[in-house]
Amino acid sequence: MEKFDFIIIGAGVVGAMIARSLSRYEVSLLVIEKESDVCMGTSSANTSIIHAGYDPLPGTLKAELNVKGNKLWDTLAFELGIPFKRTGDYVIGIGKEEIDGVEELYKRGVENGVNGLEILKKEEILTKLQYLNREVSLALFASSGGIVDPFQATLAPLENAVLNGAKILLETSFEDFIFNGKRIIGVKTNKGDFYSDWVINAAGLYSDKVMHKAHVHEEFTITPRKGEYYIFDRNDFSIKEVLFPVPTKASKGIMVTTTVHGNTIIGPNSHEIEDKEDTSNTEEGLTSVYEGARKLVPTINLKHVIAMFAGLRATGNARSPNPNIDYNHDYLIDILPNLGLVNIAGIESPGLASSPAIAEYVINLLKDANVKLKEKKDFNPVRKPRVRFRDLSNDERKKLVENNPSYGRIICRCENVTEGEILAEIHAPIPAKTYDALKRRTWLGTGRCQGAFDLPRVIELLSKELNLDPTEITKRGNNSKFLFRKTKEVQNAVKRYL
């Protein structure tokens, strides 16, 4: 029987940050994740922004943790080798009717304690950003806004946790709690039972379902809100800034923003859906993204699109814990000491920015509940990023290839990802075992050919290193195989076609 001090359900950014924070202490820790890799849900498909904190309603948990979280990112990114840039961000008011909206955000920001806010008049903003819609009326600049690699933001803390003793199990889905009387003592999964003193529910879109299994917060539900995006070819269209529109009630609106990889993305739109797995793009959604983005940058041309995607926000219906505030979409973070359960739910935007502060908050909840957390003497906060061939100078490349020739072979021609990098990821502390796992770690297959050239080579490398038949290699686990059979083994084809 495997027994842990803590089990975390969900390897998204929230689970990852909590895992890393807990791994500072002398505790045993298991993270379970239902998907084939870490960061497969909400954490993987978003705008990758570290929000400054002027948007959430003052007094909410969202506002508090956003502003706190934002400040933690420099140290965090440095220690964990996460690509992060404090680019600053803009809110662009278009037309006279949006002037009030910009001023309102400024006020909120000041109230939330956000530093570095600045109002820019029409002429100032147009001089700075000449590609903007000429109808711009007023803009807010927040110097503390930033962008991050959302995948590394999840992978790096989890890897760091693993290096500090945590255990992680993929393709392991939570089915139910195991109780001893009224106390949770473990979880049932598709891979068997695991026991623990505490369970931390960081199940993202499914966090409501998980807590309902413990019969708590039965009124709490997550309603996924889909957001769709276009990504642009950086060779053809690239802006260097992070631009928000003035938000509406439903969402922060359709942005035009850069990413740490230098690709411009536009989106997201926002519509409520029922299916927690429906990450499909819709024609209407994509059209609204395009139209929304053109409101800020009229020259955007879909000819330069390189990919599309959709993400689901885990929108909850939790009332703000602050009784003076009438707000129904706050974060739900609480500890139920008698039950042995911690819930972190409804973490929609700015969840990524808030995530390190959420982890600190959870640690404090545990400490307040008298959970013994003794600091490890040998905790290593550093996780080094792995080498990226494309980021090196020619001299560095030469040396790298001399030391390890597999870094000399380019597998992904568009993004210049080498065999060496792929092998390193397959054998990393949290191994990449699928095509998408490699893609998100190395950025292979994200360029102009979208994997058309690298796919056969990547399948070959994965099958060789993992000792699997090429027909067993998948895009993202489950039934997402690439190859059905050998060309000449026609008996494996569907019978009636013969």
Partner: protein, 426 residues
Amino acid sequence: MQLKDIYDVVVIGSGPGGLASAIQAKKEGAESVLVIERDKEPGGILNQCIHNGFGVEIFKEDMPGPKYAEMFIKEAESLGVEFMLDSMVLEITPQKKVYVTSKWYGFNEIQARAVVFAMGARERTRAQIRTPGFRPSGVYTAGTAQRLVNIEGFMPGNRFVILGSGDIGMIMARRLTLEGAKVERVLEIMPFLTGLTRNYVQCLQDFNIPLQLKHTVKRILGKNRVEAVEIVEVDENFKPVKGSEEIITADTLLLSVGLVPEIELARSVGVAIDPTILGPYVDEEMQTSIPGIFAAGNVVHIFDLVDWVTEAGFIAGKGASRYALKEKTEKVLIPIKSGNNIHHVVPQFIKKDALEKAPIKLMMRVSKPIEEKVWIELRNENNLIFRKLERYVRPGEMVVLTIPQKTYDEVFKSNTLYVSVEKFGG
């Protein structure tokens, strides 16, 4: 192989354009010629094009792709062309320093006297046609599927829908059928076939594979692996016709939605690019806007026959050798502009005295099909210089106009040349 520090001619890519360039450069006197190839063996995409139809124009022999490639590889080797395989060029400077990385040769800096770009083309992807729906596995470009089936030896699906009636799409429809898969449908958004008619006959008609013109994929279904595609008819403006939606069960969607010249290297070195075809501007020697940098094959524009890629390679190789050996040429260029119903023309420039040496072949694509006799005309500001009768013109089939040497005087005094499709009898 011991790499030299300096080569007369460095050819990037060993497909038909690259091989022909290297061979011709050697024959014209270049002493050292290096071909750099990303794949493990030379030949480029020909190695996966196991169908026949190659060589009929130039060699009067109908060969499968690998055989056609091998003929040139052998000739290149016998002439002393050096091959650097499984190696990739990362960067070229305008001074023709070539940075190339390889598992076998390490990271190298090679100086070239002349360079030939022969990187070919890449396939347009789902993103470029912006097909909504899920992003499962099972959506492949036709060329990737061709490589998997013909070289790697794996079938990427059992039930296919193919989007696009280009040649690769139709050829794959036949190939997959022969290997026991079912091709449910070939869809074409245009009101006409975009590949060669002969491929329609021998790849689709022969195997009763239905082709639907004016149709496209509206949505891809299936979260992890393709489960079905929703197709729809489109009107003249390519807008979906309401009520014409149909869901086809399939596990794979192949995209054959066009090729784009692979010009990242060309662009990074600063070669001027023709925005209509996204390949470098070239003159009649296939020289780009940077002297000493030449381009051959699909990297310039998409040819429909490999034979013509080979011919373009011969021309580029000759030019590269001439440049490397420091022979002088005329500097004044005459632009060739696309007129009535001409989508684009290659070369886009000719040197003023070019016709002195040989006739010049212009390759064109039309924008719209005309199924009756038409004139293909070459004019300058004042006069009709030369024209040729065609029995029909189709966007899927390149039009060739060879400017004869007897028009030298008229061409020489032109400031601009124009090519156009004109009514027969007009």
